[in-house]
Structures are given as structure tokens and as C-alpha cells.
Assembly symmetry: C2
Homo-oligomer: 149 residues x 2
Amino acid sequence: MDFKVDREEPVFSISTAAKLLGISIPTLRMYEKEGLILPFKKESHQRLYSEADLERIRCIREAINQKKISINGIKAIYSLIPCWEVVHCSEEDRKICGAFNGDEEPCWTYNHPNTVCENIECRDCIVYKNYSKCGTIKDLLKNITGKEI
Amino acid sequence: MDFKVDREEPVFSISTAAKLLGISIPTLRMYEKEGLILPFKKESHQRLYSEADLERIRCIREAINQKKISINGIKAIYSLIPCWEVVHCSEEDRKICGAFNGDEEPCWTYNHPNTVCENIECRDCIVYKNYSKCGTIKDLLKNITGKEI
DNA sequence: AATAGTTGATAGTCACAATTATCAATTATC
DNA sequence: GATAATTGATAATTGTGACTATCAACTATT
């Protein structure tokens, strides 16, 4: 039993998650509809949230309520994550990928037919998991650009 | 007389700029106070706006009013511009640079003592001029990351 | 089979971000 | 030297984004 696995294990129902976060259930659904979060879903369409999901949502809430960044602002920021670099997609992939070519929605809100992301569950993708916490996006950019020196 | 120079020539007074943009004067001052724009200033502290400034402001307004990105959201997006890569600042510069280490304010809102940016007028800097129009930030990231392939 | 929790969706509330109005003091213009 | 425009600052306005309440239909649990 790895700790990281536990942190990513979807165990909390939506009511529990809402209680732990101190917010309402419709708010959680709204964040999802906006493409900010991708909770795990059972076959019955019921949502389950992991500890990592909760932390992610806390970061989102901090951005909204403390930093006063609007939801569309957060989406635009997420859309700047250089996913193409992280998943190493090809030139042809980039040509047809809505995520690569757009700048308003996070990559994980797109379908990715005929690309390297085609069969990847975005919830399990490094792009979604690693670079969506508060402040890690700029760190990612630093790492990527730093390689050239 | 180069066309680009004309476009960057500060010629419009604040009242003319406001009229051309269809907004009020206090709004223009507010954008400046928030660090979104850096109009030219005469010795008498009077502002002058260029054609390029107007275009920039139109992009900002589109982000705010159409894309529904809050001002703080735009600031956070600007803060992700990899200025360190554009101006080629040193490792030591990066250690002490507020712009490099923050993620809430655009680099041009900082002082840059003891760095390569120290004596550069931010209004004339490529980072401010080139990568602040609608949609060019992601293009910049693509160019930078693309170099490695 | 009955209770509790979930689903998506619509409608309502409310705080506050974005904008404007207005001010006295300063500066430009003629 | 008088008029018009600017300065920074504060107060007032307003549109709406973030959030919640509530709904009937469905699913899980006992």
C-alpha cells in the first residue's frame, strides 16, 4: 500500500467531500461542469473524491476566494499548461488537437481522437494530476525552459 | 518612418484614448494601477497612449468582458510569461527576482534591482510589448518548448 | 419495500468586481 | 491670466459571477 495510491484512491462521496470542504454539493458539481475537476465516477455515474481531489479543490477555492481569480481565469491558466511537452505528443497530434490549439479550456476537457492521449483517462494523466495544484504551473514552465541552458 | 514605430508612438491623451475605446478615464487609470498597462508618461506625469496601447487594452477588455476572466486572473496569466527566457537572465538574477519567483503579478510591475532588467524601461521590453496581446502567451510557450524537439 | 443519498437541471440569492461619478489640486493651452 | 484637461483619491453604482436551495427521477443501502 503506497501512500500516493491512498491519496489518489477515490473514497469520499459527494456529500462527505462537500462537508470536508465546507461547501455545498451543487458547487462541487459546478466545478466539474466547468472542467476544473474530474472526480472518479462509478458505473452508476456516482462521483467519488480522493484526498488528492480535495487538495486540488482547496487550491481552486483559494484561487477563487482569496486570489480573486474567476473560474474562467483558472480555466485559461490551466489551458497554458504545456501538455504537449509533458505527454510528448507528435507534430501531427498537435495539428489536430483542440487542447494544443485552444487557450480557454484545460486540455482534459477535450476529447483527443487520433492522438497519443486518445486512450488515456485524463484523471490519471500527469498533466491533470501534477500541474494543477496552486503554483505548480509556473514551476513546470521553469523546468521546461531551464533544460536549454 | 517605420510603421511599427508609429504604432508604438505615444500620441493620444487619456481623454482621447478613453473616447476611442468607449470607456471612462478612471477605468484606464484603474487598469494601470492594477499593472495591466504601462502608458507612456511625460515629465509632468501626464499619460500618453499609442495605437499599440489601444490594441493591448482592447485585448484586456475582451478578456474581462467576453471571456469573463477577472483582472486578477489576467495578472496571474501575465505572471506566467517566461520572461526569464525572453530576456535571458542569469541564475543569480532569478534567485533575487520577484517576478521570477512570484505568480500573481506581471513581471513589469516589479522593480528589478541588480538584474539584467535593472535599467530597462519595462514599457519598451519585449516581454511587455510582444507577449501581452490576446492569445500570444501560449504561442510563446509553444515556441520555447518546441525548440527542444 | 422503505429510507437515505444521488443524479442533472432550474431558479434564486448575494457579495463584490468592474465601472463610473465626483472631488480639489495641478498642469496644459490659447 | 483664464479655460480646459489632467492628476490622484474616494465614494457611489451596477452587473453578474459564485454559490445555494430546491426539484423530480434515479440508485444505493438496510
